[in-house]
């Protein structure tokens, strides 16, 4: 057990800190939450800055355009960027955190050369077309069909809850390529251009009032066979790789952000006098324990991944479960710090976050599904019916 950092790691941290200090003050103002093209440009611009400074795809393997950094360096990167208040991955989420890593792990040399550099440069935005109206938790029951026609698949069906679909260039798309096979065996993983003829995106309004996800209708969309990652009908295995990235490492940086929020809540409570309420104060203290432990759990998971090398394990489900609920509790506490009146004002800080946090126990696999995974795959309990 060694939680200290090597000299090399500390030097990396110091360089990164210095760089953040030099670029963050010059960033343009954050765009309005409803301005999607503006948000895309902002997120892409930040990614480009990272790329030019050598911080893009830090922990991706070098032959995928990454820097081949250790998971620990990646952790330092997430810690420092969040701590400095740098922009979040935003629209680059899918490309950087799960589609990209999946292509790096499962794609051919051509596929890696074609898709990974633009992700790292912030030139191309990806979205995730997994869920369907009839296939959410039971993802493998998806129905969107892809029929082979020469060198193309012809894809028809519909997807739902596709985050960032409005601004994406590419979609990691799950399709059924064999309708006769058992449901897990007939799936393929495709990269689909979002501007291909036959793709229609209809934004959905979230309970937070924004349109961060959309419905997607696919009407005889042609996708080259060469855009399939992994073998035909082997898409479920590839999907498991994607999901392990999504659950394993994608939320790590946010823990640091939650700790910043917690500090801000305490400062606000002290300012307003609510700190004198012992119940509230102790609740914030408990959350301090929670987010400190989540950070340590992250280090534990990263150490384990570092020891075993490669794709994160199911430990990500343990983290995701605990984190998603802790995040909701954090913003419940925020509402109490704000007080009954201000907690109703959408223009007050934390009020929108409270609404957004409601999705954390649903997106990327609901808490119930995560509990099943932990029980069956870690504890070895019998599969249910």
């Amino acid at each position: 057990m060694d939680l200290s950092y090597t000299e090399e790691e500390e030097a990396f941290r110091a360089r990164l800190r210095e760089w953040l200090g030099s670029v963050l003050p010059g960033l343009p103002a954050k765009p309005d939450p409803g301005d999607w093209p503006g948000r895309r440009a902002y997120d892409a611009g930040w990614q480009r800055l990272l790329y030019d400074a050598g911080y893009a795809g830090l922990h991706w393997p070098a032959d995928a355009g990454g820097r081949g950094a250790t998971p620990t360096q990646h952790l330092i990167f997430l810690e420092e960027t969040e701590r400095a208040g740098a922009p979040y991955v935003g629209a680059n989420f899918v490309g950087l955190l799960h589609a990209g890593p999946t292509i790096a792990a499962e794609g051919t040399a051509e596929q890696r050369a074609r898709w990974l550099p633009p992700v790292l440069r912030g030139d191309e935005i990806w979205c995730q077309g997994f869920s369907e109206p009839e296939a959410g938790s039971d993802l493998a029951s998806l129905r969107t069909r892809a029929v082979r026609d020469g060198d193309d698949y012809v894809v028809s069906g519909s997807k739902i809850w596709t985050s960032h679909a409005e601004v994406a260039d590419w979609c990691e798309l799950l399709v059924r390529t064999d309708t006769q096979a058992p449901k897990h065996r007939g799936i393929s993983w495709l990269a689909m251009r979002m501007d291909a003829p036959g793709v229609t995106v209809r934004p959905l309004r979230t309970l937070a009032g924004s349109t961060e996800f959309a419905e997607m209708f696919l009407d005889e969309v042609r996708v080259p066979v060469s855009h399939r990652v992994g073998a035909e009908n082997d898409g479920w295995r590839v999907t498991m790789v994607t999901l392990s990235f999504e659950r394993g490492t994608a939320f790590v940086g946010e823990v640091v952000a939650c700790r910043r929020t917690l500090d801000a809540l305490a400062a606000e409570a002290r300012r307003s006098g609510r700190w004198d309420d012992a119940v509230l104060r102790r609740r914030l203290g408990r959350l301090n324990a929670e987010f400190r432990a989540l950070w340590r759990l992250t280090q534990w998971n990263v150490s384990e991944a570092q020891a075993s090398g490669g794709v994160p394990g199911v430990g990500g489900s343990v983290f995701k479960l605990r984190y998603s609920h802790a995040r909701q509790e954090l913003y419940e506490a925020a509402a109490e710090v704000l007080g009954a009146g201000d907690a109703l004002d959408l223009d007050r800080e934390w009020v929108l976050d409270r609404l957004s946090s409601l999705s954390y126990t649903i997106a990327a696999g609901t808490s119930q599904i995560q509990h099943n995974i932990v029980a069956e795959r870690i504890l070895g309990l019998p599969k249910g019916r």
Partner: protein, 315 residues
């Protein structure tokens, strides 16, 4: 950064587990309870010989020269098997009380306002009062024992006595009481961790064996989710406790104690639920873990004090 256990640490943990399995298996644990739940003198000596109490004394003083992380791993094992006795107080006072390091003396813990465990077996008392600590022994201890009243203890493994105010008894001050309190809290958290892990194992085992409606109850999601929740609780607490052992940061230790108390109590309760009616009997060990976890939650650092310390760190 490498948060994994080192090979030496793994070996230490395995060694301790084997020692305890050989000397304090379930039958012996049960026999000890039937015999009134006190400290076993012979076992205490054996633990002393194995280095449990001298673990953190420097080698120059005849100790083993290991640190808090190693102690945490050892007390994790102690917690798993419900080993009784003021083992933590004895380790912490090993440098100050003659014979404690060798297992020849038992040092019990006395905290203001709380009943004292294992008083009859104690050769010395570690008295903790706020951030000050002292050792009470000899004639003063005998007078105190004479004035103490036995309590019908909730935890059958820990005989308790109510003592009059501790102020009037002469004693030796110990330096750095705040540090003792922190380390006691951390090591207690480690015992809670072992207990939480043991409750989880018991629940998973029962869920895989017990059948209802023609299937193992562990195939029912309601049961499965209880078990998964137990693992999440235990693993979150584990990272907190291990990290606190490495950093020795007071706020981190407070967080570790808070989460480990919650894991031990929560897991014992859920384990009881998974066992159904069997869980409510004296025969199942579940209640023993729950009762010991409640006892430990009130020692060294309570939830209220931990939360206040964690709150004071914010902003």
């Amino acid at each position: 950064m490498d948060f994994q256990l080192s090979d030496d640490q793994r070996a230490l943990r395995t060694g301790m587990r084997e020692l305890l399995a050989g000397r304090f298996d379930r039958d012996r644990m049960r026999a000890a309870l039937d015999g009134g739940g006190g400290v076993g003198g012979a076992l205490w000596l054996e633990l002393g010989a194995a280095g449990l109490f001298a673990l953190r004394l420097p080698e120059t003083a005849g100790g083993v020269g290991l640190g808090l992380p190693e102690s945490v791993l050892v007390f994790d094992e102690v917690g798993r098997c419900l080993l009784p006795g003021p083992l933590i107080a004895t380790q912490l006072a090993a440098a100050a009380v003659k014979g404690a390091a060798e297992g020849e003396a038992v040092v019990a813990l006395a905290e203001a306002g709380r009943p004292v465990g294992h008083l009859a077996a104690a050769d010395a008392l570690l008295v903790l009062d706020g951030d000050s600590a002292r050792v009470l022994s000899g004639g003063a201890l005998r007078r105190l024992v004479g004035a103490a009243e036995p309590v019908r203890s909730l935890d059958p493994g820990t005989p308790l006595w109510r003592v009059p105010g501790l102020a009037g008894y002469e004693s030796e001050p110990l330096p750095d009481g705040a540090r003792l309190r922190r380390e006691g809290a951390l090591l207690t958290a480690a015992e809670q961790l072992g207990s939480a892990a043991r409750s989880l194992e018991a629940a998973v085992q029962h869920a895989g064996e017990r059948e209802q409606f023609g299937a193992p109850i562990g195939s029912f999601q309601a049961v499965k989710h209880l078990c998964a929740g137990m693992l999440v609780r235990a693993e979150t607490a584990r990272s907190a406790v291990y990290a606190a052992a490495v950093t020795e940061d007071p706020v981190e230790i407070a967080g570790a104690k808070l989460l480990a108390d919650e894991a031990a109590v929560g897991n014992a309760r859920d384990c009881l639920q998974v066992h159904g009616g069997m869980g409510f009997t004296w025969e199942a060990d579940v209640h023993l873990h729950l009762k010991r976890a409640w006892l430990r939650a009130g020692q060294w650092l309570t939830a209220a004090d931990a939360e206040e310390a964690l709150a004071a760190d914010l902003g």
